[in-house]
Subunit: 247 residues, 2 copies
């Protein structure tokens, strides 16, 4: 049985602080409370606070300076997130909302079907925006194979025009179908905003946008989702941490 492990104190504190930073408290490089203050406030030891901060440092959420304090990583009003893993993508639902533009439904699209490597030409398609603090920063079109689309089309969060929810499509695939997303490949380029995209994102046609194409593969190696997103650079920047790996 999968009994729910109680979240570790340091993990909970890290989550709390992460949320506070992402929601814009400690805006733009402000100083966070000291270790001692947080220890008192949350009734934990200073070591536990340090453990939480250690995680936040490695995520790039805060910067620490001996003798001065701990500072939120400056984000010039942008939505900034680290996407180094599939977990990071699923974490999108933590502090953003999904707003349905065109609900998930069955459709004939030869091109999308062939990109999903399907035999038939039937796919499911949904268009939605993602909001952070009620500001739209991204417009996404998702294509799903019929068996998965059919299941997810039952969910009100994806099938109701205008619906607002805190979910991710890959999260839904994980919980509502037999598939589990294991891997994603993304390709990122810059494009000029087309008229309809500009309209949905409250920008102007011709504005530079980030275009991100992702394909998701489940544990069995099957392509389970294709997504194309357009991001407003004023409200979003993509961030990755690269490391030198085992040779």
């Amino acid at each position: 049985m999968t009994s729910v492990r109680t979240e570790a104190a340091y993990a909970m504190l890290a989550r709390t602080l992460r949320g506070a930073i992402l929601q814009g408290r400690y805006a733009d490089g402000a100083r966070l409370p000291t270790e001692a203050e947080l220890a008192t406030e949350y009734r934990v030891s200073r070591q536990t606070v340090r453990r939480a901060f250690h995680d936040l440092v490695s995520e790039g959420m805060v910067r620490r300076v001996p003798g001065r304090g701990t500072f939120a990583a400056p984000r010039g009003g942008q939505y900034l997130r680290q996407f180094g893993s599939v977990e990071d993508l699923m974490g999108l639902s933590l502090d953003t909302k999904l707003e349905v533009i065109t609900p998930l439904r069955r459709q004939v699209d030869i091109d999308a079907a062939s990109r999903l490597r399907l035999d038939s030409d039937v796919v499911y398609r949904i268009v939605f925006r993602r909001l952070h603090n009620d500001v739209a920063f991204c417009l996404t079109t998702v294509y799903l194979p019929p068996d998965i689309g059919m299941v997810l089309a039952e969910l009100p969060a994806l099938s109701t025009p205008g619906a607002l929810s805190e979910v991710t499509v890959i999260g839904m695939i994980d919980t509502h179908t037999g598939s589990s997303v294991a891997e994603a490949e993304q390709s990122i380029t810059a494009v000029a905003a087309s008229d309809p995209v500009a309209l949905s994102l409250d920008g102007r046609p011709g504005d530079p946008l980030l275009r991100v194409d992702r394909s998701y593969v489940d544990t069995a190696g099957r392509l389970v989702e294709l997504a194309t997103s357009y991001f407003l650079p004023e409200h979003y920047s993509y961030r990755v941490k690269l490391r030198r790996g085992p040779a």
Copy 2:
């Protein structure tokens, strides 16, 4: 004054273990000694061993399983969290050429100096293009701290206007200075081409470009390079593969 801090015990242990893994001891996911064993062997507390392991886990070098032990990450990088790598960046020199626009030289720049977290306001700066098959696809400005810039400024490949060579700046840092780049953080957005950038890239002002900001950190945790690059989306797109970590 930059007095040389003696390396922390946990950092030294982490470096030792990292080296052992990279050299293929513990090959093929072999089990490492337990915390208690390492603590005895290196005459440190178990907590210090844990601190070292914590770093190695976040680097993806090892995988830990409660009740079983600590295992070296398989060489294929199967369980690696980060899929872009510093090696990918160094690989740029394999099939592209660097063409110097403004040679590397000393300069006063308060803003760049503070972003490099320097005490003084002196930095070294170079501007270059990168060519693939004699087509320019990227324009880059690099800032270096004085001690590193001073050394690299001696190299003709970076100090001669118009010079063409097959090198990368981080490669030069690796081979010509005491530092070794271990980590890079990048942030990617889209911008409209300014007049001078458009000119260098044979594009038109206003064209959408990918803007990539990178900061490079060496093995000692020091910021050793800041780079800003503009890419033509027609000739370049950024790709990453994301995986789900071992649950």
